[in-house]
């Protein structure tokens, strides 16, 4: 008996050895069921908020149970009782010698967490994409009833939020976890257990969001417009719960990212030698720390209105929808840059490596990112130009919104300056960079139109706005994310993503993007409102074309998925540094060892010394 205990202690892990994704799911369901049963037993079923109270408590049960079942809460218990984890426990948690099992467990190794984020991102974007196909199929012809209007509304809201969450983590999740610590010369993230916590909290949020579709309609879109949100079905409760859970996840992840870069850099890795992706990651994380608490608060207050009869957003009780809009857009606009900046960082890395040129004007682009972050906190009311809120502030908000094009333009010029007269190597990562350049300029310039109040008064709430932000999110962020996937995939898997399939997917997605969203611009310019499930005959042709374009995008994404899956299993081996990169992630072997570096490196130059003597 004693020797068995000793053996266990030596191996480490303890109770955690029994836990994995399966136990988490079972535990989540069990806790959720218990919460459901208890709330039915103890709550007043005559209360007008009864159904919402039961739904929220069930959702809470699911989250707590899921985190308990994966082992995320055992650290708290151990801390409370003064039984800290041994070195063997830490090694077990890091996934040492666990093989593929570690991808299904509460593993703290940042590389495992990075891969888990890749899968989570695929699930989020895949589910959001399927809903997008449902929406577009419904809009293929006027009066089409592929889904009924209630379901259509649910599709719209959940599609929007799945895509937003998916894009928030699309670059920052996989690559700020897998690559960033290696880039700065660290052995892991600053807080490995919190790193795993942020990942599994995100995973706990996904079923809530998807579940919201199954249990009730959401009629207010992803912006959860108050007071309509007060009247929505109980699906809204799970929707709000998923966002609250997600904000906790991103806050934890943001703190971890910033601490990793600021406190774990290896010797010689000064701030001026940081890879630009590291800069972009800490700007995005810092901006997220500012923005997402507003998201949490607006959702919590929405739930309070529904559950207990508070009057935050309901005018009949003294509340106001303007408050909801202010709180939401205080988050909503910075969030665009939380999504965009990591993709921009990855794009700039790729541009330098594949142009064989130093990053053009390194300090300027850092200034541009800082400017974006600062100004993004001062533009939220441009989303409310047509609502009647504080008309006298329209001018100042128009000005700040137009000013934000300056740092954006600076970043764009730095990207062009990096590529200019470079020795361009047209491999897949770089092809996606060129796609990004084309799309980003369309998304950016149409944003300047919309910042202008007279234009916004005409275009607000039309498909023109939808096309604009899809050019930013799909055309820019998604292209950046896919470019990053092609660029860093060899470091993750030791293999290239298939080049031929990659090119097919690029052209399908690139052409599809323009077919979809240019025709959507035309629909908007002709006056078609967004969120309509049916439309007049004059919008028939443009909507038909948009739907065809959407199917092209989906086809391209399926080809990409096929390329990733087959390449992961049997792609061409890449070696440790297939692109000739100079940042630290390319200096370590592939697969990357558990603690990344046998001996921590000493950095003597920046990672962009291409074309310089002795580089």
């Amino acid at each position: 008996m004693d020797s068995t205990l000793e053996q266990h202690h030596k191996v480490g892990g303890g109770f955690l050895r029994r836990l994995n994704f399966g136990t988490a799911a079972v535990s989540g369901l069990a806790f959720g069921f218990v919460a459901w049963a208890l709330s039915h037993h103890f709550l007043d079923d005559a209360s007008q908020g009864f159904a919402d109270q039961v739904t929220v408590l069930t959702g809470c049960g699911w989250v707590v149970g899921f985190l308990f079942g994966i082992g995320a809460l055992t650290g708290l218990g151990k801390w409370f009782t003064g039984r800290d984890q041994s070195h063997a426990d830490e090694m077990y948690l890091a996934g040492k010698d666990l093989g593929r099992k570690r991808y299904f467990q509460y593993t703290t190794d940042h590389k495992v967490v990075g891969v888990q984020y890749i899968i989570a991102t695929m699930v989020l974007l895949g589910a959001g994409g399927i809903l997008a196909m449902g929406i577009r199929t419904n809009l293929l012809t006027p009066g089409n009833h592929f889904v009924n209007q209630q379901v259509y509304n649910g599709f719209l809201g959940v599609h929007g939020m799945l895509m937003i969450l998916g894009l928030i983590v699309a670059v920052a999740g996989p690559w700020a976890n897998f690559i960033l610590p290696i880039q700065v010369g660290a052995r892991d993230m600053a807080f490995p257990r919190l790193n795993a916590l942020s990942l599994w909290t995100l995973i706990a949020a996904i079923p809530l969001l998807l579940g919201s579709l199954a249990i009730g309609a959401m009629d207010m879109g992803w912006v959860t417009q108050g007071p309509i949100s007060d009247q929505a079905g109980i699906g809204f409760d799970l929707f709000a719960m998923s966002i609250i859970t997600f904000t906790i996840s991103t806050t934890v992840a943001g703190v971890n990212t910033i601490c990793t870069v600021l406190t774990m850099r290896t010797k010689g890795m000064t701030m001026e030698r940081l890879p630009i992706f590291a800069w972009a990651s800490i700007f995005a994380a810092g901006l997220g720390l500012y923005a997402f608490p507003f998201f949490l608060v607006v959702m919590a207050l929405n739930l309070a209105d529904r559950m207990v009869g508070t009057s935050f957003f309901v005018a009949s009780g003294g509340g106001t929808g303007w408050l909801q809009e202010n709180l939401f857009w205080l988050m909503g606009h910075p969030e665009v840059y939380v999504i965009l900046l990591p993709a921009v960082g990855a794009i700039l890395e790729i541009a330098s490596v594949f142009s064989r040129k130093p990053l053009f004007s390194y300090r300027t682009v850092i200034g541009g990112m800082a400017g974006l972050c600062g100004l993004s906190a001062l533009v939220w009311a441009h989303h409310m130009f047509t609502t009647g809120w504080a008309p006298t502030l329209g001018g100042p908000f128009m000005l700040t919104t137009e000013l934000i094009s300056i740092p954006t333009g600076v970043i764009f010029l730095v990207l062009l300056g990096t590529i200019w007269r470079g020795n361009i190597w047209m491999k897949m990562p770089m092809i996606w960079v060129f796609g990004f350049i084309v799309n980003f300029i369309v998304g950016g310039i149409t944003g300047i139109y919309l910042s202008d109040i007279p234009v916004d008064n005409q275009m607000h709430g039309t498909m023109f706005v939808v096309a604009h932000f899809h050019y930013v999110f799909v055309g820019s962020v998604l292209f950046g994310a896919i470019g990053a996937l092609f660029y860093w995939f060899p470091k993750v898997s030791g293999r290239f993503i298939d080049e031929t399939m990659g090119r097919i997917s690029f052209w399908l997605v690139f052409i599809g993007t323009h077919v979809t969203f240019i025709s959507m611009f035309v629909s908007g310019l002709r006056g078609m409102s967004r969120r309509y499930s049916s439309y007049a005959m004059i919008f028939e042709h443009t909507n038909f074309i948009t739907t065809i374009g959407a199917y092209l995008i989906m086809s391209g994404m399926l080809v990409l998925l096929g390329a990733v899956v087959t390449s992961w299993r049997s792609g061409e081996p890449s070696g440790p540094n297939p692109w000739g990169g100079k940042s630290l992630e390319w200096m370590v072997p592939t697969p990357v060892p558990l603690e990344n570096f046998e001996v921590l490196p000493v950095v003597t130059s920046d990672p962009y010394t291409y074309g310089e003597a002795k580089s």
Binding site: W79, D84, V255, T263, S311
Partner: protein, 236 residues
């Protein structure tokens, strides 16, 4: 929540300390935005006073009564009233703030004793436990205060519902936020006491205590700030 001894990779203690201090400051910054959003909500709703409903409402007071009871009053001929709500007791709110500040002070004092000498560990166990108990008292008093927020039974068109004024709504949100913070503090206080009792926190391994103190002082500060705002800027 790594301790120096168990930190992997054998990093220098000052590096771990630096990292964790930055981490807690960033969490506090996030919490500051959250509480700032709640404060913004309070001030915004008070400023706009939609339909004059900041502290007034038409309905029947429903605290402690079931839906059927209140509806029964209406069915028996009782009429809806236009009620001007009184703000919650300022004295009680300041007592709550005082309890929170006192708990922070006790914990801080315990920390200083811990850092002073070897014998300070036992003193820390005592003071951390007292601070935790003070926070529990804060939670109980907060719940008492939350139960004082008036709720009204209101008939609207063909439906009846419970409702809070916007002032009451804000007080509920702020109160629940305070309770959540206090629950975290109670966990940290009793956890610290346990850790000190079993010898994980000692005279020369106290840096986690300092991190907790940062958070505690922030919560005490925000409690005082909220109390000042809600007891001074609350008129209709």
């Amino acid at each position: 929540m790594n301790d120096l001894k168990t930190t992997s990779h054998h990093e220098a203690p000052e590096l771990v300390d630096h990292r964790q201090r930055l981490g807690i400051w960033l969490f506090i910054a996030g919490d500051l935005i959250t509480t700032g959003a709640l404060m913004f909500t309070y001030l915004y709703l008070r400023a706009v006073n939609t339909n004059g409903n900041w502290m007034a409402i038409t309905g029947l007071p429903a605290n402690g009564r079931s839906a059927e009871e209140v509806q029964g009053v209406l069915d028996a001929g009782g009429s809806m009233q236009h009620i001007i709500e009184a703000p919650l007791s300022a004295g009680f709110a300041w007592i709550l703030a005082l309890v929170m500040v006192a708990s922070a002070a006790v914990f801080w004092f315990g920390e200083s004793r811990l850092r002073a000498d070897e014998a300070g560990r036992q003193a820390f166990v005592k003071f951390s436990t007292i601070a935790g108990l003070a926070v529990v008292a804060f939670i109980v008093l907060s719940i008492v205060q939350l139960r004082q927020v008036p709720q009204y039974w209101r008939v609207e068109h063909d439906s009846s519902l419970w409702i809070y004024t916007t002032y009451g709504s804000c007080m509920l949100a702020l109160g629940v936020s305070a309770v959540i913070h206090a629950l975290i503090l109670a966990f940290l206080a009793f956890g610290s006491a346990t850790r000190a009792a079993v010898g994980v926190i000692t005279h020369d391994r106290w840096f986690q205590v300092r991190l907790i103190r940062y958070f505690w002082v922030w919560v005490a500060f925000s409690t005082v700030l909220f109390t000042f705002v809600v007891t001074t800027l609350n008129a209709n």
